[in-house]
Symmetry: C2
Subunit: 357 residues, 2 copies
């Protein structure tokens, strides 16, 4: 049986990094007879330019019928003047929502070869390996009412609604507890329960779900403290579970701890582990087209795809080991470059991984 | 004319750190004939325990008739089981709102003596001096509707509303631009305009207000990126202006960059620079009563009070220089202790500052 992958390169550096990931994945596919087939479609600004919408129906259909989606990145200054409803970001948010990809896994692993690239002191970050589980289809990203409107008193206001239902919180909590069970059995739930009732409910429900996982040590932290603790002592964390908005912020902090946001993959899963895989970094319009972007986050994202959607653990590890080998061979893209290393281009890094396979 | 200061020590380490700040301020008051008079009142958990409310009317009245408020900290696990409406935090939020303290200034300065206490590499943080201007009386902290309720379909949900009006954004933007003018003339406005319409309006209004300050270089950043940039290269920032919720998170990150959240003061101002002054750290229930908390954030908060509310710049600088001198004398509370230093208690640190005055 063939396994279908929808490939959405998107905007900015998206096409460059996706090309390298496909190069690596295609090799493994052929070599290990995985039976993967690829189909491309437009999303984001590229889709808007072609069809006037960031998420064309044919793209959505392709994703719905695929087993997994590989996404590059969306957005850029070119499309910032557009109305919200047709911005590139809406394409990404639309897929997340339409495919029900509520569980977003963002591992932050510091490769020992890159300890120097972190702005944090080596003793604070070396050995770092944490996982952020971000709720991805609810919260303030999707809550209604939303918009900019003029009130009866004539005041113009901007409104968004942060809303979580018990069932939404339950399912992400279960995801997170299950992941914690497979790791070091520590889960920290991050909220702002002292101020926001929405996250007070979050805390209650996570606590309740926790009773079904007595082997996992559950703790709770306010988001401001969690952000601070990530900088102060990140190794205290094993798995973090949090809301859509807080997860957006915390995962970027965690990413930076590992030296470069260019290294970090992500998986966004539905209830059946059907998923979308993408680097956690954005479209980086400032370096787009220059061939200097780091493709490793995207390459590691296809490894996550093999593991989570296709249960191809051997193939996944093979790619991860090849990334490790490339780093051992001292090749570095600009974002992770340091003295004594060999600076390579986007495709140079892809080749280094390919050679190590 | 006497100048009235309402002193609200609050919970946890609040009374311990406030005592040291008052010790320092009283000395300067007498020595420089500043004419300050002090009045104490209860807030937070302490007020709840005594009166069943975290913000008793007499406390609010005292604050309303005072020229400035000095606050320690509120909250602790003891009061976490309480209903939201009577939690200690509501006392703090109530004062902010009732006094119209919309502009919260949170400087993050790394003292050269404490470079080693930061978890970031010295070259990344040394010389750090940035100011976060956080909107403090609006946004999701105060938006309606809010609460936990059961929908018609039987689903229980938690709801909060993020809402900003044009006038709320305008006034905080003006505050921030004015502060930037007195500093290095760079203002970075942080939002999530690519996803939240509320902050799309924020960006529009800040941009509009910016036209009145052509000497200030305005930039915009998404909150996830800003959190990351604070860890990657914090010295790129001069002044940051942002919403209540984002400011809560970003200021804790900025605080941590300086080595200890125990060092950082804050000012919360209304339109007439009447204000409340407090350390940005919390009530730290885990170390309350042990006499080991760092009082410097509170001592530096009274320096801010002298400067912003009373225009007593000489007195303010005198306190700041005494803090510097205490650090030069190598005395350190536990949170900023490192080898070769002398470990002192909370009151030991207060005394060291007093001696240096
Ligand atoms: C591009 C943007 C809509 C997106 C988000 O906020 O979720 C991005 O920051 C991310 O973290 O995937
Ligand atoms: C205690 C809490 C309500 C408060 C806030 O969230 O504003 C605190 O975290 C702060 O930053 O002053």
């Amino acid at each position: 049986m063939t396994k279908k992958i929808a490939v959405l390169a998107g905007d900015g550096i998206g096409p460059e990094i996706v090309a390298e990931a496909i190069k690596v994945l295609s090799f493994v596919n052929t070599d290990m007879k995985l039976g993967l087939v690829f189909d491309n479609a437009l999303i984001g600004g590229a889709a808007y330019d072609a069809f006037g919408t960031p998420l064309p129906q044919q793209t959505l259909n392709l994703c719905k019928h695929a087993d997994a989606v590989l996404l590059g990145a969306v957005g850029g200054p070119k499309w910032e003047p557009l109305a919200h409803a047709v911005r590139p970001e809406r394409g990404l948010l639309g897929i997340r929502s339409e495919l029900g990809l509520f569980s977003n896994l963002r591992p932050a692993i510091l490769y020992p070869q890159l300890v120097d690239a972190s702005t944090l002191k080596p003793e604070v970050v070396s050995g770092l390996d944490l996982m952020i589980v971000r709720e991805l289809t609810g919260g303030i990203y999707f809550g209604q009412p939303r918009g900019i409107r003029t009130l009866e008193n004539g005041e113009k206001v901007g409104i968004n609604t942060k809303i979580y239902s018990v069932s939404e919180i339950k399912r992400i909590a279960h995801s997170a507890f299950k992941i914690a069970q497979k790791r070091h059995k520590k889960l920290c739930s991050v909220d702002k329960a002292n101020v926001l009732e929405c996250t007070e409910l979050w805390r209650q429900v996570v606590t309740e779900v926790g009773k079904e996982y007595p082997d996992v040590e559950l703790s709770h932290m306010y988001v401001d403290n969690a952000a601070m603790q990530l900088v102060r002592a990140p190794k205290q964390f094993d798995v973090i579970v949090t809301t859509n908005m807080f997860g957006d912020i915390l995962s970027d902090i965690a990413a930076m701890l590992t030296g470069s946001i260019g290294m970090l993959p992500s998986a966004s899963l539905d209830a059946n582990a059907k998923g979308m895989y993408e680097p956690i970094h954005g479209s980086a319009p400032d370096i787009a087209g220059k061939g200097i972007a780091n493709p490793l986050a995207t390459i590691l994202s296809v490894a996550m795809m093999l593991r989570y959607t296709f249960n191809e653990n051997v193939a996944a590890e093979r790619i991860e080991q090849a990334v490790n080998a490339a780093l051992d061979a001292k090749v570095r893209t600009a974002d992770i470059f340091s003295e004594g290393m060999t600076k390579v281009s986007t495709s140079g890094m892809g080749d280094a991984v390919l050679n190590a396979l």
